[in-house]
Amino acid sequence: MTGKVTDEMLMAFVDGETDETTRAAIERALAADAALAARAKLFHGSRTLLREAFGDARREEVPPALIEAVLGRRDNVVPLRSRIRARFALPLAASLLLVVGGAGYLAGRTGAGNDDPLGRAAIAEALSATRSGEERSISLAGESARFETLATYRVEGGICRSFDIGGARASLTGIGCDRGTGWTVELTVERSGGNAYAPASDAALQSVDAYLDALGVSDPLTADEEAGIQGRE
């Protein structure tokens, strides 16, 4: 290669956007020119800085209002807030409830009082205490329900677990995560009413799958991998 290595060429090299020929030529130029190498490092460093300064959006919880705005458009879904209150009074068979939880729901609350109608605190506690495939009994809205952790996934900054809850009046499936600050319920989807052993509806499973996809998870952890993570905590 003859001529000057421009900023754009250098940047494309650092970003892995150059073809083989250009890459080799720039590598030779960098080896021969310390100032150029220092400038390449600047381009690399700027990406790192920006990622740290701005890269938190995907780790944050999505505001419930946004979810509501999207799903609220569906004819068969009524606004989220009223659904939470009316949850146990609704004819549930064909209904689908999607709630993305806020950590605020969990703070300082245990059990299933009126402030926590979905029993987020109880679910969070169960998530922390079970591994994939393990069941326990939890109290939801004053009633006993069967809780099972289905699978555990590694995500950026922590781990997430999919879970299933079968109660006398309704069944839920969902996702909870511990991203370094304790377990929070991030997604719950009502999958059927009244039968703890009913198969999860397609829509409920798809919601969970879509959420896992959005988190960028791959396969669930094996029991050994999960034990390894648990052991380090």
């Binding site: 209002a65 829509a203 959005a214």
Partner: protein, 172 residues
């Protein structure tokens, strides 16, 4: 079709990140995401299945941003001129690397012209390729590269100017 809403919900974390490449506040970004999602749901038939839903939604967000929200803001200078940037010094680079003054990075990035800031964040934070960023912003790939290079040089240069030398003690 019933799944469309869930597909969008699954993309919300990503869309919020993408929206922040356009806006300078989180609230404005969420407003933008919401407006775009509502528009997308009204016009869902214009999305071609098999193409990237996030890219489609980003284009809706961007158009909406240009059409409405940005109108209420003072004009930002559009800098596509060829002003030559001074070379940041080796000493400054070490300071930048040693001190991850992240709030300062955000302030500097937010002070860039819209066009530079968007491409900067799309590539460096949202990990889009140059080509993807060009398609999303509807500009030639060469424009993406020139804006991106200029923005990154400006970022590092501004960080140096603002970060006190180590021995210099507290920032005022």
């Amino acid at each position: 079709m019933a799944d469309f809403g869930y597909d969008i919900v699954a993309l919300l974390p990503r869309l919020r990140g993408l929206a922040r490449t356009l806006t300078r506040s989180r609230d404005a970004a969420d407003d933008l995401v919401q407006a775009a999602c509502e528009k997308a749901l009204r016009h869902r038939e214009s999305w071609t299945p098999g193409t990237r839903l996030d890219a489609w939604l980003f284009r809706i967000m961007r158009n909406h941003w240009v059409d409405t929200m940005r109108r209420s803001r003072p004009d930002m200078p559009i800098d596509d001129g060829g002003a030559e940037m001074a070379l940041p010094t080796e000493d400054g680079r070490r300071v930048v690397e040693a001190r991850l003054a992240l709030a300062e990075v955000r302030r500097v990035a937010d002070s860039l012209p819209d066009e530079q800031r968007a491409v900067l964040l799309l590539v460096c934070v949202e990990d889009l390729t140059y080509r993807e960023a060009a398609e999303m912003l509807d500009v030639p790939i060469g424009t993406v590269m020139s804006r991106l290079a200029r923005a990154r040089v400006a970022l590092v240069a501004a960080m140096e100017g603002d970060v006190p030398a180590r021995a210099g003690g507290e920032r005022s």
